[in-house]
């Protein structure tokens, strides 16, 4: 099946995605899209050569080139050009094979067999083999120094991984892991580093190789002539400069000093376009939720949580924060995943019902403190809008603003009522990270035995339609009982010069073709 991107957006916007996208990924995942399907989507003749100058916010002197520690947008912009994952995301946020050629589970989902594409080399000329995959997973899952992806891949038994032949790896799992294929497709989660990786002289298989790197300042990359995808990349060089301020980023774009800028606010769309530059708006699947701890008062009463969800005027919030761009949320995460339940009724603002729920719970005139921080797009504004909207139901929200470092400091995951930001993830892998008692980032302290048992069944179910039914059941619990308020999925707004070609909207939540610059060319 093939669904054009425009149709896809329309269908999704109408809230009736149905099973459209699920056909992209069969039960075994063998039909996950291949790179060739999504390359060359933009018509027109390509021009080779030139230097792309990117102004990227989010970096600091903690910048890294190690894909296993990448945290910020500045990190992603570098590692997504240096390295490649086993699986990635299509622009429609569906799993796509990159370095992997095939990934097949056994009947109980306790063991997967991975086959790599052949003829792929690292920047130092060394061919990509099963050894590199095993080395990468053992590094990621090193119990003494686990990498960022370790939380999502914890059930892989890295020590027991074996090489079946130079391109084939057996991946045993400690517990059933039917969603491995989806979990690996999340940006940087399956980036492959060569065996014996040296962070001081980093090499990957990506379209660009490193030329220079100064943390917090600038990095330069040049095309890798031995790149396995014939004809790519088009650019000769990429210069990525860290910007601390969005205003100077826009100024640099308007003055023609940079070619692409990431993560703009909706306020600047008009001025950027009036100056002959372009805006790229993606319906990102990332989400910036409000988090209510379900184990402490007042949010331990589900009527209070429901009331909080009912006071939100979601379209108004989206309008104020992002000029109406983005997607309205329904308090359930994983919006572009094939197992996201679009049939749950859209929650609308209902002040009367919120008031009566609060009254029944004995919390009339509720006063709560909301810890907010500039951690994601529009988070602080969202907190202020929520406080305003909640006052209609007699709820007094006192917004306490802290710095990003304070937010993720000692109280992170302990705030009673706060916010967070997440990149797009598929539904069940996201559950494993956030809403199980065993989840490393269970910020709502959610603990629901029925939900857990559904998850345990789902994670052991290879059949996709059965797994989807289980996921739908779980989403009903998220919808009625969960601790998250998910009013919106923020848009990703990027800017680019008139000379830049090849940018297309992508739903994975990362800017600028998910910072994959190999398909960009300059005219």
């Amino acid at each position: 099946m093939d669904l054009s991107r425009r149709d896809f957006v329309k269908t999704a916007a109408a809230g009736s995605l149905a099973l459209g996208a699920s056909g992209l990924l069969s039960a075994c995942g063998i039909n996950a899209r291949t790179v060739a399907d999504v390359v060359h989507r933009v018509p027109g003749a390509r021009k080779r050569g030139g230097t792309l100058r990117a102004a990227i916010t989010g970096g600091s002197s903690a910048d890294t080139l190690d894909p296993l520690s990448a945290v910020s947008n500045a990190d992603f912009s570098r590692v997504n050009n240096l390295y490649e994952p086993l699986l990635g995301l299509t622009p429609d946020a569906q799993p796509m094979f990159v370095l992997a050629d095939e990934l097949t589970p056994n009947a109980t989902a306790t063991e997967w067999t991975l086959r790599l594409k052949s003829g792929i080399t690292f920047h130092n000329g060394k061919p990509l083999t099963a050894d590199d995959v095993i080395y990468t997973f053992r590094t990621v899952l090193n119990p003494k120094a686990p990498a960022a992806a370790a939380a999502g891949l914890a059930s892989i038994d890295a020590a027991a991984m074996t090489k079946l032949d130079p391109l084939t790896v057996r991946i045993p799992c400690k517990t059933p892991f039917a969603t491995l294929l989806q979990a690996l497709a999340i940006p940087t989660y399956s980036d492959i580093i060569p065996a014996g990786y040296n962070p001081a002289a980093p090499v990957g298989t990506g379209p660009f190789k490193l030329q220079s790197f100064t943390p917090g300042t600038q990095s330069t990359f040049v095309r890798y002539d031995g790149y396995w995808q014939t004809g790519l990349p088009y650019l000769d060089e990429v210069v990525i400069t860290d910007y601390s301020d969005a205003t100077s980023q826009v100024n640099a774009l308007l003055a023609g000093e940079v070619d692409v800028v990431n993560l703009l606010s909706a306020d600047v769309i008009a001025v950027v376009e009036s100056q002959g530059k372009n805006i790229l708006i993606s319906k990102g699947g990332g989400w910036n939720p409000f988090t209510m701890r379900v184990d402490v008062a007042p949010f331990n009463d589900r009527r209070v949580r429901q009331a909080m969800r009912l006071v939100v005027d979601r379209p108004q919030m989206l309008e104020i924060l992002f000029g109406g761009h983005g997607t309205i949320g329904n308090d359930v995460f994983g919006i572009w995943a094939s197992d996201y339940d679009h049939s749950l009724p859209q929650r609308h603002q209902d002040i009367d019902q919120a008031k009566s729920l609060l009254k029944a719970a004995g919390h009339e005139g509720l006063a709560v403190q909301l810890v907010s921080s500039d951690i994601g797009q529009g988070t602080i504004q969202a907190a202020e809008v929520l406080a305003q909207q909640a006052s209609a139901a007699g709820i007094k929200i006192n917004v306490s603003q802290v710095t990003v470092t304070d937010f993720f400091g000692t109280s992170y995951l302990k705030w009673v009522f706060a916010q967070d930001y997440w990149y797009f993830n598929f539904y069940l892998p996201q559950v494993s990270l956030a809403t199980l008692p065993t989840s490393p980032f269970n910020e709502c302290h959610f603990d629901n035995p029925a939900y857990d048992s559904l998850y345990q069944q789902a994670i052991a179910t290879i059949d996709e339609s059965k797994r989807q039914e289980l996921a739908y059941e779980m989403q009903k619990i998220d919808y009625t009982d969960g601790g998250y308020i998910i009013p919106f999925f923020p848009p990703v707004i990027d800017g680019y010069g008139a000379n830049v070609n090849g940018l297309i909207p992508s739903k994975g939540g990362l800017s600028l073709n998910a910072y994959d610059f190999k398909q960009l060319w300059l005219s």
């Binding site: 903690a62 100077s248 951690i375 304070d406």
Partner: protein, 338 residues
């Protein structure tokens, strides 16, 4: 002529108690300065300990699991006591070692060295240009007191002092770089390792911003001091002797008006040490201010310590220099108090 030589014998007599005003001021102030720096280093270190979170949680952000935090804290040596961390930093400093960044393991001097230079160039250029413009305009306004020129400048100076530096910077960028004319760079991004003077066009707007911000203060002080001087008896005398207008201004009034103005110039330099933070931020200029903002959000304590101490040392040095120059410009203050 007799009255010209008459004071001569008095001077050695008055200096009989072997007064060394410059040396005395210098020694005393330097001693206090070093003590100040020591106290600042303790305060800054204590402040970094009070802040929630550490370099490990700052680096991991929302990917921080207890296992990852623990591993990184050990790797960053954050598991030592606060006193041990401070002590190893202090002993390192006394051996000329400014420490190592917790965050990326590079030596602080290699990380910050280039940025010190960049910020110094920015401050020095802005300080010198701003001082010259302020002094000259102040002189001219005083010389043409109550003319349209004087009134116009005074009003503009008053208006500009009300503008925060980021407003000035944004206005300059809007007019000269981003929207109206595209004749100057909107941001001042230097590739790492490139010295600021190798691409002078990138310095124009940041320096212009700082100059615009500091000129009014120098101008107003200079104008007031100059008007005082011009109303004095010796200037009256010089005029009566038939000296040219410019000779009266430059040789007789200026040296007396400059002493109070030096204090303001010193204050301007001190302001620049803080004002560059905003300007560096707006222009993405790779200087100390930007590095400090980064280091604080990264909780990179050795870098924070180094930059804050450097800025504190700059305050101490400028204060001492200001006093010494005022002393030089005010001969009667060099006489011992009787």
């Amino acid at each position: 002529m007799a009255d010209v030589t008459a004071p001569a014998p008095i001077a050695p007599a008055a200096r009989a108690p072997k007064a060394h005003p410059f040396r005395d001021v210098l020694v005393k102030r330097l001693g206090f300065g070093i003590l100040t720096l020591f106290i600042v280093s303790i305060l800054v270190f204590a402040a970094t300990q009070v802040l929630p979170g550490n370099a490990a949680s700052a680096a991991l952000q929302n990917t921080a699991t207890p296992a990852r935090l623990h591993a990184l804290e050990i790797q960053m040596h954050l598991n030592r006591s606060a006193v041990a961390q401070y002590w190893s930093w202090l002993t390192g400093l006394l051996h000329g070692n400014f420490g190592t960044s917790i965050v990326n393991n590079a030596s602080v001097s290699s990380l910050i060295g280039g940025r010190v230079l960049n910020t110094a160039v920015l401050m020095l250029l802005a300080g010198v240009i701003g001082t010259v413009i302020g002094v000259v305009l102040g002189m001219l306004a005083a010389a043409r007191r109550d003319s349209w020129f004087d009134h116009g400048l005074s009003v503009i100076a008053l208006a500009v002092t009300a503008l925060p530096e980021f407003v000035v910077a944004m206005a300059l960028v809007t007019f000269f770089a981003a929207l109206v004319w595209h004749i100057l760079p909107a941001v001042s991004v230097y590739p790492p390792g490139v010295s600021p003077w190798s691409i002078p066009s990138l310095l124009v707007l940041p320096v212009a911003t700082l100059v615009i911000v500091i000129v009014p203060y120098t101008f107003r002080m200079m104008r007031a001091a100059m008007i005082d001087a011009l109303e004095s008896d010796y200037v009256e005398m010089a005029k009566l002797k038939g000296m040219s207008r410019w000779r009266v201004l430059a040789v007789h009034a200026l040296p007396n008006a400059i002493a109070p103005t030096i204090q303001v110039i010193g204050l301007n330099f001190l302001y620049l040490a803080g004002g560059v933070v905003v300007v560096e931020y707006v222009f993405n200029y790779p200087g100390l201010g930007q590095a400090l903002v980064n280091a604080v959000s990264d909780r990179d304590i050795p870098v924070i310590q180094f930059i804050v101490l450097l800025l504190a040392a700059f305050y101490v040095v400028v204060n001492i220099a200001t006093d010494l120059i005022s002393l030089a410009a005010t001969p009667r203050r060099r006489l011992p108090r009787s």
